[in-house]
């Protein structure tokens, strides 16, 4: 604790750094997003089985990936905050949660809209949709717990513990749901194999994923800056650093 081994672990020095990073992350996000959509809509060929409807994949799959990655990253920040008692780590976790929940919802929403033309129904108790739904509940639980605690330190630590418990449970839940699903559904609707992945499709997927990553980073940094401003309103550096306060 004695050595400040990472200069930017203090909110005062992280705040301006984050401010400089946001425009870059946003720019990367917009550029890769536009490129991904272009490849997805104009370069990638029509799928011979699903027709055009498979193009939902270009947001569904990246959103689903994001939802899971973000949960893991969020939990790691939260647990780091719990162990080393660093405010900034916990703030990062808090800042990531709403965006993660949003991508989880998008994955569910697009999954349903993809399911209708593909399987003939908006919702199936497919392993992926089901575990995505539970993941959404986990996100909401984390957000709701932190929202109902007034003391910021308790909120950070309680969130860290909950995220840790969730992190241990996520693989178990995922695996249980998968097992449950294969038992009840058979392998009739495995659609990972259905569209033979053309190189252009893969490129579009990767570009959109990159865009979502950049977007998540930008938005999380924006939110963390708000958290810092709210929690440090007693510190003088806020008044010296922040533009627009003079």
């Amino acid at each position: 604790m004695a050595i400040n081994w990472f200069k930017y672990s203090s909110p005062a020095s992280f705040y301006p750094l984050a401010g400089r990073m946001i425009p870059w992350a946003m720019a990367v996000g917009v550029l890769t997003g536009v490129a991904g959509l272009y490849v997805g809509f104009f370069v990638a060929p029509t799928d011979y089985q699903q027709g055009e409807s498979y193009r939902i994949m270009f947001i569904h799959v990246p959103a689903a990936w994001m939802s899971m990655f973000t949960y893991i990253v969020m939990a790691v920040w939260a647990v780091a905050g719990l162990i080393w008692n660093t405010r900034l780590s916990s703030m990062m976790a808090t800042a990531l949660a709403p965006t993660g929940a949003m991508f989880t919802f998008i994955a569910l929403w697009t999954g349903a809209l993809w399911g209708k033309p593909t399987w003939g129904t908006y919702w199936v108790w497919d392993a992926r949709l089901t575990s995505e739904l539970i993941l959404l509940f986990l996100y909401i639980g984390f957000i709701a717990l932190q929202a109902s605690i007034d003391d910021p330190r308790r909120a950070a630590r309680a969130g860290g513990l909950l995220a840790l418990v969730g992190l241990v449970n996520v693989p178990i839940i995922y695996w249980s749901v998968k097992w449950w699903n294969t038992l009840h559904q058979g392998a009739s609707i495995s659609f990972a194999k259905a569209p033979t992945m053309a190189a252009e499709m893969l490129l579009a997927l990767l570009l959109v994923t990159l865009a979502f990553w950049a977007y998540t980073i930008a938005v999380a940094l924006m939110r963390v800056r708000c958290e810092i401003l709210e929690s440090e309103r007693q510190s003088s550096w806020i008044y010296e650093t922040v533009e627009g306060l003079r």
Partner: protein, 205 residues
């Protein structure tokens, strides 16, 4: 015996106190006073390790309490605003469970004597919920007589006590100081302790 250095306490986003320093030798009593909301209870809870200090260190007999962990807790008796009694259980049952948890063996005879000293003879079998506020407090204070702890941390121990009970408590505190114990307490009331040495800390503006 107890040393507190550079202690800082933050509650919510309020900084209650910074750079708090004091040390207590055997037979010393620390009286913490100050207006409501000045952080008296937080100081006591921090010394008990119920709250994590924002900065600073607490040492017991030379070792940091963080490292001593349960060995420190075995030396400590805390009485907060809440009595820590189960309403449905009688005073005697409450004290027996408390003693078991504190790791000390006591006989029913000792419990009886402690309750008698607190002026609760005849009330020992009643569920605590039937007692008055002052009687409940006295049951909680009877723990002082049944515990081998060296360090007593008492948050407003005199509240709700009548003058007889106040005198008894003063005598109990004096006895503890005489036998080399240490006491930290908060109170708004005046009290007289003939034994040991009384130190004072004032919190708040």
């Amino acid at each position: 015996m107890l040393e507190v250095t550079d202690l800082e306490c933050v509650r919510g986003d309020r900084r209650l106190f910074t750079a708090m320093n004091f040390s207590l030798r055997p037979g010393e009593l620390l009286h913490v006073h100050g207006p409501n909301g000045s952080g008296k209870t937080s100081l006591l809870r921090t010394v008990c390790r119920l709250m994590e200090p924002a900065a600073g260190e607490i040492r017991w007999c030379g070792s940091p309490v963080r490292a001593l962990a349960e060995d420190y807790l075995a030396q400590l008796l805390y009485l907060g605003h809440l009595n820590g009694l189960k309403d449905e259980l009688s005073g005697r049952e409450n004290l027996a469970i408390n003693a078991t948890l504190a790791g000390s063996r006591i006989t029913p005879q000792q419990t009886q004597e402690a309750l008698f000293r607190m002026g609760l003879d005849g009330y020992d079998d009643l569920p605590v919920k039937l007692l008055s506020q002052g009687q409940k407090r006295r049951v909680a204070l009877a723990r002082l007589l049944l515990n081998g702890a060296k360090l007593w941390i008492l948050d407003e121990p005199f509240t709700a006590l009548d003058s007889v009970a106040v005198k008894t408590l003063q005598a109990i505190l004096a006895g503890h100081l005489d036998s080399g114990g240490v006491v930290i307490l908060t109170t708004h009331q005046e009290f007289v302790i003939d034994a040991g040495r009384v130190k004072r800390i004032h919190l708040g503006a």
